[in-house]
Amino acid sequence: MSELEAAFADEPALIPYVVAGDPGIEETKEYVRALVRGGADVIELGLPFSEPIADGPTIQNAIQRALSGGMTPDDYLELVSGLDVDVPVVCMTYYNLIYQYGGREAQRASERSSGGTPRDEEGVEAFVSAAADAGVSGLIVPDLPVEESGPLRLACDEYGLDLVFIIAPTTTDRRKRRITEQASGFVYVQARMGTTGAQADVSGDTHDSLARLAESDLPKAVGFGVSAGEHAREIVSAGADGVVVGSALVDIVASGENVAERLESKAAELKSGAREGEQEIPEPERTSN
């Protein structure tokens, strides 16, 4: 059982998301500590990419702030390795940063050797290796569908990282099987169509998606639109093993007021909701995970 999987073992997991470097590196460290104090079981830490096509406006703006602040992949890995928290960190980013991080390594290598285009295999390995060194437990790459994930999956296996995949409301059963075969750590259940962003209620798609995933052994964490303890309760009671909360927290970061304190209390609210939700699950089901 990987570090990530283990985080779901005892009780429903709270997976808060913030963007690294929003608005600065020290703040991010402070916010992560606050979230852990509030009850976070896993920290999903965004490595900002300039074209975040899977994210809604809230997180786009956070990414913009982080990039304006000068956040780079190297800074990110240094930040992670300097985090003094005892929960696993999963890195959420887009594929080009992973590919290009390796690309730079490969370019240096190809100057020595016979040249040529860097291949995926060379590209991702450099990033995964560095991430593993920094203490990253797993990766979420929202623009990397299972079809294109081969090289990254191999590298993650080699360096002991989990590779988390997203299951969307549109995912067919055939794709679901393919994805769950490749996924590790947990399955990220996308609660609704579209992009990330806090919503006022839980999408009806959530229950269907969880039901379709009942047979999978991996923990299932629901994200996209989760913003309140009540949502967490409902989602966990519907069978989820955890909730991912991003935009609602990034909103707090964006406000700039009492951020750490409010993050901690929001995390506590969400964690508490998740625990309540667990109580509502009939006994036989609860033990099935």
Partner: protein, 438 residues
């Protein structure tokens, strides 16, 4: 799903089922002409679009450059550019797929306009995403889209230009994918878009190939097309990519023999104001992804990109809004990588000069995009003149050969304001005086 190392499907899972559905529809309707799709498509291109477009011998340019120069007149297509070929194909495909809604991104507004035209013609709802900056600087195209009853959704994030508009359209598509088709505007995006858009655009080279055979009695020595995303480029190149047939003996009479016997393909990128990148500002002063980009993944495909060492995408720049894009179609990247296509570039000033040259000499006002292709003729001639004592440049000029097709991908009415302003600012000699206004 790849062209060599390039291409692929780098999109969120929520879109993958739609991509699979599109792949299937592409194979059935486009490749296999199921339900007569391609017949209907070609009928619309003819009756609504005005195809075939002429292949015109450019008499003044031919004399100026001492070679036979032919212009493929995509500027005469309905809407004023090659964009309709693709928009019409995809909107029709969306209807065959039972979709009820079209979304599209647009930068300069040409693709948005073409899509809005096609959508109103084929009677399907259409929403176009356009950056706020572009909306304000391309008002006439916004008017046109609205006049065709398309919604125009402003995109306020980032620099408010094409890149952001694509991101936002992908987000809308991810939200409404079940009843919505995303009409992407170039040979970019996840597979099968690059192949499909190329196929819709390849009518350009299909016609040109037949026309040049009829007019000149043989295949051209070279085809020159501008390249931003690359849809007119692939359209103009596609049916020549496999051509390697021997030419008539007299083809070498004017400029000496060349090394190979294939049709040379020149993709002319926007050199902007220079090829040096300012990484600190995240800005490239050009749009020459093929010439100077690095491999990476953007908007669903692996291709050549303008990016920082970290992999952040850079803002590109060109006086031509339609070439102003940080990526390029993956198939072009592949053809460049394999040596089949030669990437070259001309800067803003040379493009402006070519705009005026074609307008004055041939009675055709080319789009600023297309002006880059026209400008390459001059560049080649200058190099031949400069290098008459040295061998290297001479060879480069001679790559164009005796018989050249230049793709005039669109008309330049839309660019007049920009051209007048920029020509005055830069002191372009070829620009006419506008003193007629008091």
């Amino acid at each position: 799903t790849k062209f060599g190392e390039y291409g692929g499907q780098y999109v969120p899972e929520v879109l993958m089922p739609a991509i699979e559905e599109l792949q299937s529809a592409y194979e059935r309707y486009v490749l296999e002409n199921e339900d007569g799709f391609m017949d209907e498509f070609r009928r619309h291109l003819r009756d609504f679009g005005g195809r075939p477009t002429p292949l015109q011998r450019a008499d003044a340019l031919s004399e100026r450059y001492d070679r036979e120069v032919y212009l493929k007149r995509e500027d005469l297509l309905h809407g004023g550019a090659h964009k309709l070929n693709n928009a019409l194909g995809q909107v029709l495909l969306a209807k065959y797929m039972g979709k009820e809604r079209i979304v599209a991104e647009t930068g300069a507004g040409q693709h948005g306009t073409a899509t809005a035209m096609a959508a109103s013609y084929l009677d399907i709802d259409c929403e176009v995403f356009m950056g706020r900056t572009d909306i304000n600087r391309q008002r006439p195209n916004v008017f046109r889209m609205r006049t065709h009853d398309a919604e125009v959704n402003p995109v306020d994030v980032g620099s408010g230009t094409l890149k952001e508009a694509i991101n936002e359209t992908m987000r809308d598509w991810a939200t409404n994918v079940e009843d919505t088709h995303y009409v992407i505007g170039s040979v970019v995006g996840p597979h099968p878009f690059p192949k499909m858009v190329r196929d819709f655009q390849s009518v350009i080279s299909e016609e040109a190939r037949e026309q040049i055979r009829k007019k000149a009695g043989r295949l051209p020595d070279s085809v020159v097309a501008c390249a931003g995303g690359g849809s007119n480029t692939m359209g103009a190149f596609h049916n020549f990519v496999d051509d390697a047939e021997p030419r008539s003996a007299n083809r070498s009479s004017g400029h000496g023999p060349r090394d190979d016997e294939s049709v040379s393909l020149f993709a002319v990128e926007a050199g902007g104001s220079g090829l040096t990148i300012d990484e600190d500002e995240g800005v490239a002063p050009h749009s020459a992804s093929l010439s100077s980009g690095q491999d990476g993944v953007l908007h669903g495909a692996r291709t050549k990109l303008l990016q920082s060492g970290d992999g952040q995408i850079l803002e590109s720049h060109s006086v031509s809004a339609g070439l102003d894009y940080s990526g390029v179609g993956p198939e072009l990247a592949h053809l460049v990588e394999t040596g089949r296509v030669t990437p070259v570039n001309v800067g803003d000033d040379a493009a402006l000069e070519a705009f005026h040259r074609l307008s004055k000499l041939e009675g055709i006002i080319p789009a600023l995009e297309s002006s880059h292709a026209v400008a390459y003729l001059e560049r080649a001639a200058q190099r031949a003149a400069d290098g008459s004592s040295g061998h290297d440049q001479r060879d480069e000029a001679d790559e164009l050969g005796d018989l050249v097709i230049v793709n005039v991908s669109g008309r330049g009415d839309k660019d007049l304001d920009t051209v007048i302003e920029e020509s005055a600012k830069r002191g372009i000699d070829a620009a006419p005086s506008m003193e007629v206004f008091e």
